[in-house]
């Protein structure tokens, strides 16, 4: 199959079990060359487990997982020389300076001394860390450490960069800078694979994504497609009154007004109406004067919450 050459990452019936616990449950997906592919899901959905199987930190229980046509279980070294990894937890080398983190890491990849120096300097420039080259790691802010972690993942000039929650815990400025750098990388031809539980991040970066929960893929598609299909166009959020039950609220707001295809969902304190035309719906239902109401566009967050549920994931 000619098409196969463009498959950067391919999983077939991929499963990972820890004893009785199934972390990844027979999932299949493929990532095409040049795209940004996202794994979106609540904590414990199995995203990190997939990432760690790609790097052979975890062994595949069943199914196959291949990178650039090479099976990760049998060809680990080759796979790892062609991919870049940005882990969720900072595992930079605290004993080394900023630039030595990159230089020593290039040694692990077997990159020669001169080439290592050139690449390290370039990467520090690209990630706006050049002035900190000789600093010990302790002096770096969280955002700088994350940028260095991404720079390190790029030291072997990988075809594909795999990022596990690249902006978790960062302030908005730091996040936007990282997004900007990732988009620049993608436009230079690097395939990006990332996990996140930030909807905004997924909408900003991903061409395609899957939403996962309990080790399974729930849906797959582009952010726009998914929003359209699972949340519609617009959302009305209507706050419940104090001591008001859900059913009472639905009864008093909607009554016997026709919903005309709108879908209703209710959390502990809010009624959500997903609809194609919020204004038309507003004119039919009965809000009353005391209720607080929000009218907004449907987002990936709606898709996510509708598919994975609103209860706390711990």
């Amino acid at each position: 199959m000619k098409q196969n050459n463009d498959l950067i990452l391919n999983a077939t019936d991929l499963t990972k079990r820890f004893g009785d616990f199934t972390a990844v449950d027979s999932i299949s997906f493929s990532v095409r060359k040049g795209e940004c592919f996202g794994f979106l899901g609540p904590n414990g959905a199995g995203k990190t487990t997939i990432m760690r199987m790609i790097t052979n930190h975890l062994l595949v229980t069943e199914g196959t997982l291949s990178v650039l046509g090479m099976n990760v279980s049998t060809n680990a070294r080759k796979v790892k020389s062609r991919i870049g990894i940005v882990p969720q937890e900072n595992n930079l080398d605290m004993d080394l300076t900023v630039i030595d983190n990159l230089i020593i890491y290039s040694r692990y990849h077997g990159i020669g001394k001169r080439e290592a120096n050139i690449r390290s300097t370039q990467l520090l420039d690209f990630f706006q860390l050049a002035e900190h080259a000789q600093s010990p790691l302790m002096r770096l802010s969280g955002g700088m450490k994350r940028r260095l972690l991404i720079a390190r993942g790029l030291i072997n000039e990988p075809k594909v960069l795999i990022l596990d929650e690249p902006t978790t815990g960062l302030d908005p400025q730091a996040r936007h800078l990282i997004w900007q750098k990732l988009r620049a990388l993608q436009s230079q031809g690097t395939t990006l694979v990332l996990t996140t539980h930030y909807m905004e991040e997924a909408e900003q970066l991903c061409d395609r994504l899957v939403i996962m929960d309990h080790g399974k893929i729930l849906v797959e598609g582009s952010p726009v497609e998914l929003i359209k299909e699972h949340a519609g166009k617009e959302v009305l959020e209507i706050r419940l009154l104090e001591n008001e039950g859900r059913d009472d609220c639905i009864e008093s707001v909607i009554g016997d007004a026709g919903l005309d295809g709108a879908e209703v969902e209710c959390s502990t304190d809010t009624l959500y109406l997903y609809t194609e035309d919020a204004m038309a719906l507003l004119s039919r239902i009965n809000i009353g004067s005391e209720r607080s109401i929000l009218h907004r566009r449907a987002s990936l967050e709606d898709v996510f919450l509708r598919l994975t549920g609103r209860e706390l994931k711990e």
């Binding site: 079990r17 930190h57 975890l58 062994l59 070294r77 790892k80 882990p87 080398d93 004993d95 692990y108």
Partner: protein, 273 residues
């Protein structure tokens, strides 16, 4: 303040037949990383390497030696020093591959980071062991210098003590890596030091000839790796080397290879699930 403990996770899948260590030249990259870090604190490290044997030789060699006189016809300090060279190698390697390696494996997640590169876990373990034995070599060189100050280096045979301390270092680094792979916290190492390393230090013939012990204890001492190191080291410094000492070397080499294989297995079991 109590140290955090790190859960030792166990692989849940049945393992296949024994997989032998998968090692290439890449282990040297890991060694180089440790060396590079050492360069940032080498002065303190070398002062420790020189200071410790100096203190021992002054206290035990000269102080205690005055009461003991001679052992097997040689001054006590000359009897003692070659053995201390081996125990220094043992301690240096053991500290590096317990406390040092454990910090890199758990708190700093250094292994985790390296594992995302073409360097295999087995090579990480070997790199750490090579580094542990390199530090043993540093301690051996320091000891050799101090001994020459005391006029205890009389022939070129003594230079062969340096490859010997490397071998001792390899062996004790490997043993330490096994302990490290099984440890949940730093506290665990105190058992190893008290029950493993201290008896080794006391009963391997450094301070008195093993022949002084009852027969059963002599047999047990034969099973202590350090005993063989001390025997060869003393022969090299006193000019009494014979072909029979090749058996001791072989003993150390075989023990090292076995310990290394177990170390690789133990670390794999802990880190790759």
């Amino acid at each position: 303040m109590s140290e955090p403990t790190y859960q030792v996770r166990q692989a849940t899948e049945p393992r296949g037949p024994i997989k032998w260590p998968d090692v290439t030249h890449r282990a040297v990259y890991v060694w180089f990383r440790d060396f590079k870090v050492w360069l940032t604190y080498y002065k303190a490290s070398l002062i420790g390497n020189l200071g410790e044997p100096l203190l021992y030789l002054l206290a035990m060699g000269l102080g205690l030696g005055k009461m003991v006189g001679t052992v097997n016809g040689i001054p006590y300090i000359a009897f003692l020093a070659p053995g201390l060279m081996c125990s220094a190698a043992m301690y240096t390697a053991t500290f590096e591959c317990t406390f040092g390696a454990f910090t890199r494996m758990t708190r700093q997640q250094t292994y985790d980071a390296i594992l995302a590169t073409p360097v295999s876990l087995d090579e990480i373990v070997l790199g750490e062991i090579l580094w542990g034995s390199t530090k043993s070599l540093f301690s051996g060189v320091a000891m050799l210098l101090v001994m020459s100050l005391f006029g205890l280096v009389k022939s070129f045979w003594a230079l062969l003590a340096l490859p010997l301390v490397i071998l001792v270092g390899l062996l004790f680094s490997s043993l330490s890596m096994i302990v490290t792979a099984k440890s949940q916290s730093y506290d665990f190492f105190s058992y190893y030091f008290t029950l493993g390393i201290a008896p080794m230090f006391l009963f391997s013939g450094i301070f008195f000839p093993i022949e002084n012990l009852p027969e059963w204890a002599q047999t047990m001492a034969w099973f202590l790796p350090l005993t063989h190191g001390v025997t060869v080291s003393r022969a090299l410094f006193t000019g009494t080397v014979s072909l029979g000492h090749l058996a001791d070397i072989l003993w150390l080499a075989v023990f090292f290879l076995i310990a290394f294989t177990f170390a690789v297995g133990a670390v794999r079991k802990r880190l790759i699930l």
